[in-house]
């Protein structure tokens, strides 16, 4: 049972495996250690002390267990052992856990105390995100699947859902919160690093849950305000006048589900397409927006995103499809 062979084998092996979980997933736009937001940094500054503290406690307990296992029974050992159980097993852990609870609660309070400069409502749908910017004294600006935020400003996200529970998570920025039907949950994000950060649904919500993604695009505040002003405008006139694209769109019946502001298409079912050409990706963050991908999306929707709640249009005439794609790409 205590053969030296097992011991020399186990030790180095465990040591070699130990750093693995720490090394994985520390980079990239989905990493919660990227520090792209104030909230993510606050959590990170808890994470490292907690991790190191846990490692120390774990090592101490293991060392102590080995020591206790090897020492012979004695009367004095019995007394010391009971004292160790009382202090090391009850009193000290209670104090440590109480401190952890308190730091956790205080961090949470600090995070929710920031006063927001911007309110964005994000509504989870199967399997995409409806996004509405609320600027006081101005009509709501509705878009989808891409959340733009100004750097250095705190944004308040009001999270809702009409169908099932979703969860909005942009790891690099730090937030994760459920979207529960019938409730409005509040999440604040303060992005600090310019860039395009990945987000995803973190609560299983049906067939295409794994393909329910979004982008968080962080820009300088001026660029953000310019973008928001553009986004509030109706569809680009050049696109509407261009070679029968809008007609193809309306003829195919897309307008029953999609809205293009400035046209008669005002369907509330799917994502707003007024400025779809200005977004980086389609299919709720699934594939980059290119003419080829868009064409495939329309004609073979279910192949691109199995389970999707949009019908495929495999029978569109090639010219109609081309006109449709050019039209959507022009909706900047």
């Amino acid at each position: 049972m205590r053969s030296p062979g097992t011991r020399t084998w186990c030790g180095p092996r465990l040591l070699r495996l130990a750093p693995l979980p720490v090394l994985c997933g520390c980079e990239g736009r989905h990493s919660w250690l990227a520090g792209a937001g104030a909230e993510a940094r606050a959590i990170e500054s808890l994470f490292w002390p907690f991790l190191i503290g846990s490692a120390i406690v774990w090592t101490a307990v293991m060392a102590f267990a080995v020591f206790a296992y090897r020492s012979a029974a004695s009367d004095k050992g019995e007394r010391v052992g009971r004292a160790v159980i009382l202090w090391g097993g009850a009193v000290v852990p209670t104090i440590v856990v109480a401190m952890l609870l308190l730091t956790g609660l205080l961090t949470l309070r600090a995070l929710s105390a920031r006063s927001p400069a911007l309110t964005v409502q994000v509504d989870g749908e199967q399997w995409w995100w409806r996004v509405a910017y609320r600027v006081p004294g101005q009509a709501e600006v509705v878009t989808a699947n891409e959340i733009r935020l100004p750097r250095g400003e705190t944004a308040e996200l009001l999270l809702t859902s009409d169908d099932v529970i979703h969860s909005l998570w942009a790891p690099a920025l730090g937030g994760k919160m459920d979207m529960v039907p019938g409730r409005t949950n509040r999440l604040t994000l303060t992005p600090l690093t310019i860039g395009s950060w990945g987000g995803l649904c973190a609560e299983y919500c049906g067939a295409a849950h794994a393909q329910m993604r979004f982008e968080v695009v962080v820009t300088e505040p001026e660029a953000f305000r310019d973008w928001l002003a553009d986004e509030a405008m109706p569809a680009a006139p050049e696109a509407l006048s261009e070679g029968g694209g809008l007609d193809a769109f309306l003829d195919a019946g897309c307008g029953a589900c999609h809205t293009i502001r400035g046209t008669e298409a005002d369907g509330p079912v799917g994502p707003d397409l007024t400025h779809v050409g200005g977004r980086g990706r389609i299919g709720a963050g699934l594939v980059p927006l290119t003419a080829a991908n868009l064409s495939r999306w329309i004609s073979h929707t279910d192949d691109v995103k199995p389970g999707v709640r949009m019908p495929a249009y495999p029978d569109l005439a090639p010219e109609a499809l081309d006109r449709l794609v050019a039209f959507l790409m022009a909706l900047k």
Binding site: R82, A90, L105
Partner: protein, 123 residues
């Protein structure tokens, strides 16, 4: 024929009560906070005071049981005398010992349950 002893000496109620108090406190604290916040009262303070009062009552009740348990156990930290014999006295001491540990555990649990309501000012 012997009947289960519910309330007299040697009965197990002092073992059952601490977790029951914790469960009741847990439920009540969540009820108060949930109902208060569901009614759109943004400020948490009145609910927090109610939870604090409830916490003090729960701790007092646990303290009272801890006192009884100490008497049964004949002390706080006695480990020289046996509590594992198959005798009436040992059984009673054993129950006192268990109840005392549960009192400590549940007092901590009650405090942890109440902690968030004392930290947050808003729903």
């Amino acid at each position: 024929m012997t009947y289960p002893r519910i309330i007299d000496d040697g009965s197990v109620w002092i073992v059952i009560m601490p977790p029951v108090i914790w469960a009741g406190h847990f439920l009540a604290a969540y009820w108060i906070a949930a109902v208060w916040c569901a009614r759109g009262m943004g400020v948490l303070a009145p609910a927090a005071w109610a939870i604090l009062a409830l916490t003090l009552i729960a701790l007092a009740a646990i303290g009272w049981i801890a006192r009884i348990a100490t008497v049964r156990y004949e002390g706080l930290l006695r480990h020289e005398a046996s509590i594992a014999d198959d005798r009436e006295r040992s059984r009673e001491r054993f129950l006192g010992h268990v109840a005392l540990l549960l009192c400590a555990l549940n007092a901590v649990a009650v405090i942890f349950t109440a902690a968030p309501s004392l930290v947050f000012g808003q729903c």
